[in-house]
């Protein structure tokens, strides 16, 4: 029986992923984790990069795999990590994304207002901890950065955690954007601990530089690609319209889980203390959203059906993105044109004209830093240690302005 749980999973990115313990096998088997099979890692990015259909499930397993490697490296370098701590840090990374909703970031605030997916992951881990008789205590402490050995929490979330290492590699692999390839294996081999903090040995500095650049490139080439921005904003608008119509008393076709959230809008993380909300949330995934949208393409509400038809047929809004804010009169003219051509009521314009900003950080100075350990034992922040990168430039968020509207304008 026990042997059966030591499974090996084929992974095109790393070759094979081992399931290291019976408890972890049982967590993977749990419906809360299996749900992640139905949540795409990159939302609607596959509309631009057709290979990008990989899921939070696969990413979470991948991050756990890298964590196994990182722990092995640190132990080989003399770091004391108990068997219990090892299992706990694997659990923490395995479940770090359990709180993601449908289409990952795309709908993060459209369904549940005011709660980040990390907060929800925390709640789900608490619930699992009850189911598994307290065996997730240490994992939760590590996840919440409350465990004495700081470096364990930093492996789970920091500027250089196993989450980021996996998603850069994996997103690069499935999109086919070779610009995002990073030296994951080398970075992990260069990890160490100094003063209780996770550090990178000096020899790994080039790989870290490359990692920071690769992340920045992936932001603009993939994560914030303008066609993806357009599709995901259209998806948000669809849900806004559906909620609006529901509020107006209209009964829309929807799966039970989605129906619940169209009618109820939990405003804070506390709401999850009601079992009903947690229950519906852990039943909600990409399939509820898309199956409902497909049905709404025939809805009598013209706004809703038009939006849904455009998204399903990939007749996406044109997206213009630029460094500076758009000219006020240009925007006003455009709005008038859209309203008139599509014969919209004025309150309907918000569904057909989207205007917002987006920004990214390749490296965030304010946040947890990446530290470099030099041969003489001194520890420096990457910005000070690197001769080649201008970290002050890279850590400045580049904000861009964008507008989206129907192509037929």
């Amino acid at each position: 029986m026990q042997v059966n749980k030591r499974k090996i999973i084929n992974d095109p990115v790393y070759g094979f992923i081992n399931i290291p313990s019976e408890l972890i096998f049982d967590l993977i088997q749990h419906p809360y984790f299996q749900r992640l099979r139905r949540i795409k890692q990159l939302g609607l990015t596959h509309l631009v990069y057709p290979g990008a259909l990989h899921t939070r499930f696969h990413h979470s397993l991948g991050a756990m795999h890298l964590m196994q490697e990182a722990i092995a490296v640190l132990k080989m370098k003399g770091q004391k990590i108990t068997h219990e701590e090892e299992e706990a840090v694997l659990i923490a990374i395995l479940l770090h994304d359990a709180g993601h909703g449908p289409f990952s970031h795309a709908l993060e605030h459209a369904i549940i207002k005011g709660s980040s997916h990390e907060d929800i992951s925390g709640l789900i881990m608490q619930e699992l901890n009850r189911n598994f008789n307290g065996r997730l205590e240490t994992g939760i402490a590590i996840f919440q950065h409350k465990y004495p050995k700081k470096f364990l929490s930093q492996l789970v979330s920091s500027q250089l955690d196993m989450d980021r290492l996996d998603y850069l590699s994996r997103d690069s692999f499935f999109t086919g954007v070779s610009e995002g390839v990073i030296g994951t294996q080398r970075i992990i081999k260069m990890l160490n601990v100094s003063g209780g903090n996770l550090v990178v040995e000096e020899k790994g500095i080039y790989s870290i530089e490359k990692y920071i650049i690769a992340r920045r490139i992936m932001y603009w080439q993939v994560y914030l690609h303008k066609t993806v921005l357009s599709a995901e904003n259209m998806l948000i608008k669809i849900l806004e319209r559906a909620k609006y119509l529901t509020k107006e008393g209209k009964e829309l076709f929807a799966t039970p889980a989605l129906s619940f959230f169209l009618k109820n809008q939990p405003g804070s993380i506390e709401a999850f203390n009601q079992p009903e909300i947690l229950n519906h949330f852990t039943n909600l995934d990409d399939f509820d959203i898309l199956a409902s949208i497909k049905t709404w393409t025939n809805d009598p509400d013209k706004v809703l059906s038009s939006l849904c038809k455009r998204l399903i047929d990939r007749n996406l809004y044109r997206c213009v993105i630029q460094a500076d804010a758009f000219d006020y009169f240009f925007i006003e003219d455009l709005k008038e044109k859209i309203t008139s051509i599509l014969q919209l009521k004025s309150e309907e314009l918000i569904y057909f004209f989207i205007s917002d900003t987006t920004s990214n950080y390749a490296y965030n100075i304010g946040h947890d830093k990446i530290f470099i350990l030099s041969k003489d034992g001194k520890v420096n922040e990457i910005g000070a240690a690197s001769d080649h990168l201008n970290i002050s430039v890279l850590s400045k968020a580049t904000t861009k302005h964008f507008i989206c509207y129907p192509k037929d304008i």
Copy 2:
């Protein structure tokens, strides 16, 4: 405007795929083709190989890409292929899978009885031909093996067509099963035409041998993997139960497209002449099925909800597979045990005990053959040309017997 339609698509398998003409761009944009984005190439295989989420959409583009390469090779070798023929053969391969229903092969006969996906692809091409003013005529002739230049049809479907070359490479890539890697590029470079037929030059013989072996290995390691067999048979059982309940007068939650097919069971390809059937079929995809199944996990019918819950939570039936037929008394005992433990009515057993056979051909002698062109111009069938393969062994279908039933027995 025209320039916009010469798009380049990122593909992790081949790097980039070019859209070669405006007509092809318009076909790709058509909702009939966009639907293939929502049909997974390998049904439920991702329950075993989590990367295997790629779609018929991606595969069709990939096969079109290989076709472009193959045509370039043949033209370079002096074969006369007009511009119109080239576009037509690209259209034929692009649309060859347009008739696939949800989860590809898994449900091929569960929703529409008696029609193969190729037949339905043909009907959909006819419909598109009407929409595009007859511009698909030649493509359809090639697809239906009615065009004088036989080799063009053979590139679309034969023992060595661009369909098979793409799916072996792509399935191998996304599952991570390196045993399926084939020398696609080399095989294409070795293609030629002799006596009007597609042939492979003698130098490519090793690659063909490897291709035949790789196909056979992919069958047993991926396509007929016992856990996949189990999941897909459970999926079929779910739809059978849903149809049964519908027939009994029960109104099940379902998306409109699925609802239609639960109530109507077109028994032959002719049924597609009713626009309503074609319309519903081209709206049906993986999302309809899975969203409905998720809802049915709470259905009052215990058989249906139990089956659905097991599938959604990946609590799959145990599958035993063996070369010989199972012992009669062993089976009868097992059936009794299942009925008694699960407290089933006798007519419900068929949902909890599955018994069937499965088989594969690595190379099918009866069917269109693979021909090798030797340096002196003679053409031989691969079985005769190869010193190394025992084609008679490889072309014998290996039939295996399998049974599936709940693990808790």
Copy 3:
């Protein structure tokens, strides 16, 4: 100091190779092992596959890397392997090719008659054992199949050893022949020990089948490629002519190590007990041979200079290869033509007309077998366990006849 010896080496095939102990570091640093940097793994194969310049040095490190993985798998499965045994088996595989001479197999019997490279590896290991105060004892016992735990020796040399697994992967990588790609990682994960013998678990059977086929394909596509056959036979002829001229009293330009072997022809492995022979042998590598041949392109002996010029300028003999023996009269006519066109003396013809046979085994039934461990604990030979392979066909050596002669005939 000790830390310094725990190096990591970049390897494009596996990512990174770890040097696991100080003793192994010192062995790698030894001139006997460093010499392998100057011996190409695949002789003159790079004349056909220009990437195939990798060395015995790199292969030996790679095989050691796989051995580390295999040992880790067996230990995880409960096999008892002491630290001393682990280091010993790593040493055995590391040094298994130390006895290879210039251009690996190409000149195996042209320089030293009657001794295989394995015999010479054994002698070199003995010599190193003396230098390292007996610390190689266990490694030598394993290498010579004299150690009680048979499976350790089988990991070093058998039908499925780390040597073969590495060279197939590595040769495939550097030649770019994707047909040779095997599932190394999966095979290693499926290794186990039963009855003291190395076995493969049943789940790995497809990978083993693929491995046997891949080996066979690599033989015909790479190892016995007719242009490589031609080049390597020309190389042998050059050395034969040089030895002949030396015997006739002619003083040829040659590096000291090569000069020694032109004048002295050790006829058996015992000759290596003379320190002079071992010393010269361990100084001889590809560079001695090629630098001398380059010089001989201007030698006054027309036969020697003509052969050398052809090889250096890659003006290689035409090679014809076929399943049946060549027709006697065809050969006699050809010989006459060559003699007359090139104006040769009759005793010179042997340098310009080569006729021989070559053969390969994909799987050798007579030799150590590959055993499959089924789930019920039974062990079967692969031929009995496989439904798909016709092992009796694959294990039959295919012998081919070939002739080589100048293209200008």
Copy 4:
């Protein structure tokens, strides 16, 4: 006959390389080009990255392959390029490195003083032009930037030429340093011509940024790796000592080609007008150097034999590299220590203590620039077009100081 010359070559980097014309086949077959098979692309880098044994021959073919792709892209975008121009630009890139001497850059100025390899490539092309009856005229004009269509020359040599694109990809592949992977295919697809100059379309800007960073990283991680610096400086010292001894009247063992250059030291490119010099140069390669060095390990001159023994046995000098100049007194102390421990005469110290600087540019502002073509047709230098890169930082050469000396000090 003609058909025979349309060969396909296996390349692990790009899959296959086509030889596009008979003339190019004949140039590849010429001994001047075949010589490049015996010159490693990266000198002694393989002492650190054991896979880095690839040659100028392979690189030149690879660059020609990329050129074929680039020309196809430009033609598809409407650029007029005649068949003659196409063959000429392929010839120019094919032969651009024909003037490299042994170990590529490592010995660039150690054997022939004052002539760059580009100058010598030019002379060799002239010589080939005479052999091939003037058919290389246009290729030479393009190579020398004297052809009216500037962009053709820029494809051969500029900040973004096919030379750089190939060597970054190839060096990254064979070293296994994934940090150097660039999006070659994407960059080529984004090439265009504007105002007669080669430009990159705006969509390719991220790939260009990544390319600039990857180049910088490859400099520090591979090209200027301190162990490689040490080995290559030792190699230079060996040749200096050999020349010194020769000048002193000592007759060293050497192959004829090397012997010539030990005795004659052509001081300028004009010297190549003497056929003897060109003849010896085109016979000189890595094998002459290494075979001679191996022999010199037993030379009676202690300085020479000690240097050679250290290099052959990979007992390399320790190399210390730092941003600032070394402290004067530290250096003087070190020199004294070396002289005393090794019991050197004062004039021998230069062979055992090396002190120099090294520097790199990732992007050189002064030199030919990389231009970005925006959608509105404007052309900007990459530094102005990129939001993300601080080109002024990247284009500043980073100079580093290094010293090398025996480890036993």
